[in-house]
Subunit: 394 residues, 2 copies
């Protein structure tokens, strides 16, 4: 058994008054010593000031604290928005007595409204007072928006007999889609690793996790995934096999967080893994899987527990990659529903309808052309998704 | 005043038993003489046999009849599907006593179920018996699926003092998106025009109409737009100015049909025209307009009558084209809501919320970069959309 927390990290989450409902809305992760840092950011051309600042500051490779708020995205707020982000960083660095450039800021919430900076200013001392090694749950709660559950994953690993831990928190639930880790995710570990190797590991793990999930196809202006590694354990990454070992642990944490995000997708009642195989290339397989995973018609059919494979095949056909229109096979879990692009009959349909009633199942689409394969995890598209998003600001 | 119907065309629509509710489900358009024909078809790689056959047959430039059914797409039905499509054509051509290759077949409905050919066979004589110059309404009804209203538009034009008419019927409502006229649309006119000129005119008009609307971003396997011109009026197209004059009339018909389709979009309560200007190119403007028009978050905000411009700007930012993130203006009808990517305040928001309560309104997004401009017409995304599509087959 390894230890199940990272040495030298503390976290906190408190209510500062940004959320109308009085919930926790201000969080912090703090490392007792400067840590290696890596990050990935939204690909949206319109980016919050927090994203712009974090992207710049991680270039130094060092970070010691992240201050994060929910309830306000501080995006599309002009030059005042950036001033406010810098002020948030300043409040934290002054109180923590660390260099300002070692602080990152993250924000999530409504776009286009000025952030009530005075509330944050007066809350920061309390926030820092609350920092503790087991403050993870409070932090996870403080970054939630339409999330219904906090999302925390911890894993441990060993390098040369030396234990280290990796802990991640995430929020998501809407505005999630492949192309970037479009949500907030903060990961910390006490492994010793260089910023460059950490960045590569984060990119690789994101490609297997956050870039393989979708809720509604939208991409946020604010999203980022940041990892800090403070080296306070005795586990040191300094060779290829150690990198591989660490990546496996990181993959595990990020894939679990990504699946938690889909499962808690806005209004989601089902989590569905769309696997495409037999494509001409992995890239083609990704395109088909994403097109099926994004299709509103497919997702509403999942919600309706309707084994409407015609919508799946129609989505596959419009993915913009070669398919053999008469040679597609489709499986629901291990039940073959479609062979050579034709239905396998009413008896099979009864079986697949039972599968569709499950909270989690898989769809396999075999294009029967080549060796390309990829999976994307999606959720169904429910009446509650519309309700949540029609009423979000009111 | 020109005449308001095309000479020599008859239409009909009857119930053949394909629809569970006993509604009209079999229709025909017939020209007393062979007509010039043009068509555009779904870009989906998976295509119904009716699409494959029609695409082939219009190469001859001549068509005299279209037989169309709703209630069954006859797609993903293997080689029997194509045999059944050929049989449908054969029933019609035998009874009409015209060459089989001058008949087109169209189908719409559920994918993947064999079409009950015996029902169609026994209904064809009745269908042909019902053909009449004013059978348009019956035809329009017979092609409806989840449509709630039939869609017919008639326009008239004059060339050199000679009148002609253009009549179009369409069905749509789900599986509509740019990239092709993804629905069924049949247009007929008594103008005299060559198939090649007719094809160009259809493509140009579709680019202004069907390719500028979206309901849910899905693309059907079965969709086609066909135009027949039988030359039985004295209006003859044989010069550039006459082509232009005809195109204007055809534009009018197709744009009206396209807007009717959006207005009757599945569950739609609002029709919204998204106009993007100031883009670097028209192509960029189209991409931004389509991304906004497709965004589930934008569309649910419309349904919720929430002037959530942050979602509009976030969608514009992820369209994959250059934008100046701090220089975007947004108008709701003629009220400016966003200037330089920042909100214009609560007073304006109250005004825009009133606009959002209207059944039709426009959004203008000015990127302030260049001269590129484009519009896409979309609808809101409602609870009923999910209900309709979750329950479609049950």
């Amino acid at each position: 058994m390894g230890k199940n927390y990272s040495s030298g990290f503390k976290a906190a989450g408190i209510a500062s008054g940004l959320k109308k409902n009085g919930g926790k809305d201000l969080g912090m992760i703090f490392s007792e010593v400067p840590a290696s840092v890596a990050g990935i950011f939204t690909t949206n051309k319109v980016q919050a000031s927090s994203v712009i600042l974090a992207r710049k500051r991680i270039q130094s490779g060092t970070c010691q604290a992240i201050i994060v708020n929910s309830g306000n995205a501080n995006c599309c707020t002009g030059s005042k928005g950036m001033q406010d982000t810098l002020s948030m960083s300043g409040f934290a660095s002054a109180e923590l007595e660390i260099p300002d450039e070692h602080v990152l800021v993250a924000s999530t919430g409504v776009i286009g409204e000025p952030i009530p900076l005075d509330k944050i200013k007066s809350a920061v001392p309390d926030l820092i007072h609350e920092l503790k090694p087991d403050g993870i749950a409070d932090l996870a709660e403080s970054i939630m928006t339409t999330d219904t559950v906090p999302k925390v994953v911890t894993a441990t690993g060993k390098i040369g007999g030396k234990s280290y831990a990796v802990t991640g928190v995430a929020k998501g639930s809407g505005m999630i889609r492949p192309n970037m880790a479009t949500m907030l995710c903060f990961v910390w570990t006490d492994i010793k690793i260089s910023p460059a190797v950490l960045q590569e590991a984060l990119l690789a793990s994101a490609d297997k996790s956050f870039n393989r999930i979708t809720i509604d196809g939208d991409t946020s202006t604010n999203d980022m995934a940041i990892i800090m590694a403070n080296g306070l354990s005795d586990a040191v990454v300094n060779g290829a096999s150690q990198v591989e070992s660490f990546r496996a642990v990181l993959d595990d944490v990020l894939i679990k967080l990504a699946r938690m995000i889909v499962k808690d997708g806005e209004g989601a009642t089902k989590m569905v893994e769309i696997t495409v195989k037999g494509a001409e290339s992995d890239a083609d397989a990704i395109k088909v899987a994403e097109t099926v995973a994004h299709s509103n018609l497919v997702k509403t059919a999942f919600f309706g527990e309707d084994a409407n494979w015609g919508r799946i095949i129609a989505a596959a056909g419009r993915a913009g990659v070669p398919v053999l229109p008469d040679s597609i096979d489709i499986f629901f879990d291990d039940v073959q529903m479609v062979k050579d692009s034709m239905g396998c009959g009413k008896a099979v349909e009864a079986e697949t309808t039972r599968i569709l009633k499950k909270p989690e199942f898989g769809i396999v689409i075999d294009l029967n052309m080549g060796e390309g394969e990829a999976s994307v995890v999606t959720c169904d598209f429910s009446i509650d998704y519309v309700k949540i998003n029609a009423d979000y600001r009111t």
